[in-house]
């Protein structure tokens, strides 16, 4: 870097608007962006098409993140309500899915923050982290650390086994992995959603896959 350039603030370039042509024919054939613009003008029908098109994706994203169907449904509703509230201000600066999952990601983050503030009814840590016996950890007595994945599989729930494996990932890795592998977003789109460089996204995916591998291998032995 040239001398004296260290303090130069890198200005984020203004996002350029994508050219969105007004859709033709029935609404179900319109692009997401055209539907969103139409919804911004007050079309409930356009909004309904968007909901039907994307609710499954958003539901599955939130479900993988919070791992509770009831809460995932509520968060999905929040995501689509945010579309209503911001419909008039929407500008097609990126793909609609990027915009949608940015909202979803923010809502999931808030949910995690709420969870961290909630008290626990019962905690394993409280079982052994007592002042008089800090060294005792019952988990040390378990030979198979993948027991949870196995137990989930034995209950016949592949999805639950995947969730159990995902639980072992740090939040940022889990989110990146879910967006990439379950929601099929490109590295560039994830980079925009999470506002981190593409290289960081790739690195997170590699780490996440590496962390998941032992749990998933254990599962495959029983397939």
């Amino acid at each position: 870097m040239a001398e004296g350039m260290e303090n130069v603030v890198q200005l984020k370039p203004e996002p350029t608007l994508r050219v969105v042509e007004r859709g033709e024919g029935p609404l179900r054939d319109w692009t997401d962006e055209a539907l969103m613009l139409e919804h911004g003008k007050g079309s409930e029908e356009a909004y309904s098409v968007l909901v039907h098109r994307h609710q499954r994706g958003v539901l599955n994203y939130t479900y993988r993140m919070v791992q509770n169907r009831h809460i995932a449904e509520e968060l999905t509703q929040e995501v689509f309500l945010a579309l209503v509230k911001n419909g008039a201000r929407y500008q097609p600066t990126a793909k609609f899915t990027t915009y949608l999952y940015t909202i979803a990601s923010n809502i999931v983050s808030k949910e995690w923050a709420r969870r961290k503030r909630r008290p626990k009814f019962f905690s394993l840590s409280s079982w052994w982290n007592q002042e008089d016996d800090e060294s005792f950890n019952p988990l040390d007595h378990v030979g198979d650390e993948k027991a949870n994945v196995l137990a989930a599989f034995q209950r016949g729930e592949i999805s639950e086994a995947v969730n159990e494996a995902l639980r072992h990932l740090p939040e940022h890795q889990r989110e990146t992995f879910v967006l990439r592998r379950f929601q099929d977003l490109s590295y560039e789109e994830i980079s925009e959603v999470l506002e981190v460089p593409v290289g960081t996204i790739k690195s997170r995916i590699v780490r996440a896959e590496r962390a998941l591998r032992p749990y998933l291998e254990k599962y495959r032995e029983y397939v």
Binding site: F80, S125, L139, V206
Partner: protein
């Protein structure tokens, strides 16, 4: 000679993952240079195979299906939100709404502060009576009266408190793997309870969240009872 040079310079893990993804996903572009490297490098090939196996397993997990009820709720809520947004057009009404919202928020905070105080202030192992049960006008979907649901939730919460204290009291005894597995389930369910409480905080009138708390507490009590009674070798 050229091949030997490539083997000394293995591709990065990121490049291997992108290659594995492209192999896994339909229509992905295949890097010829990488493919020729993998033909002669057993280490990288093993890594790519392991990556593909992980990705394939993850992809095999079925997705949740959307039920019509959820779609209807979203569309109904959007209509309500839309009409609310239209209503706050005039400045006078807007000012009135702000005052009204502030008053409501203050009242809600006061109610929540009182009702959640005991719960939030408790230690991790202590289970207090979920006071939300008293503040939420519950209409039970299962035909149970609001008062009966409140009472049942209070009772099961007390049971969880007792059992949790009893199990904690047995911590010095050697745990069996089965008991520890059950304990993991209990801990995992703890997160579900916290999530339901969080939902209840967002929407204090949610009958569904109240039911989830009640049902999950019941399951928690059952697990703790199993650990304490049947897993006697804890």
């Amino acid at each position: 000679m050229q091949v030997a040079l490539k083997i000394r310079n293995h591709p990065s893990k990121q490049a291997l993952l992108v290659y594995a993804e492209n192999m896994q996903d339909q229509g992905g572009a295949i890097d010829r240079e990488m493919a020729s490297h993998l033909r002669v490098c057993a280490t990288c090939k093993a890594e790519v195979d392991a990556m593909r196996a992980s990705l394939s397993f993850a992809a095999s997990a079925p997705e949740l299906d959307v039920n019509a009820d959820m779609t209807a709720r979203i569309l109904m809520a959007s209509k309500t939100t839309r009409s609310e947004m239209k209503q706050k057009a005039t400045p006078l009404r807007k000012a009135f709404k702000v005052a009204q919202a502030t008053a409501c928020a203050a009242a809600m905070l006061l109610i929540m502060g009182v009702t959640f105080n005991a719960f939030l202030g408790s230690s991790e192992t202590e289970v207090t009576t979920p006071a939300f049960a008293e503040s939420v006008p519950v209409v039970s979907a299962t035909g149970r009266s609001p008062e009966a649901l409140r009472q049942a939730t209070v009772e099961v919460a007390a049971e969880v408190r007792t059992l949790s204290a009893a199990v904690t009291g047995k911590r010095h005894e050697a745990p069996t793997p089965e008991a520890l597995e059950e304990m993991r389930v209990v801990q995992s369910r703890d997160a579900d309870i916290a999530a339901a409480m969080s939902a209840l905080e967002r929407n204090p009138n949610s009958v569904r969240a109240t039911h989830v708390v009640h049902a999950t507490l019941k399951q928690q009590a059952e697990s703790l009872r199993n650990i304490y009674v049947e897993g006697g070798s804890l």
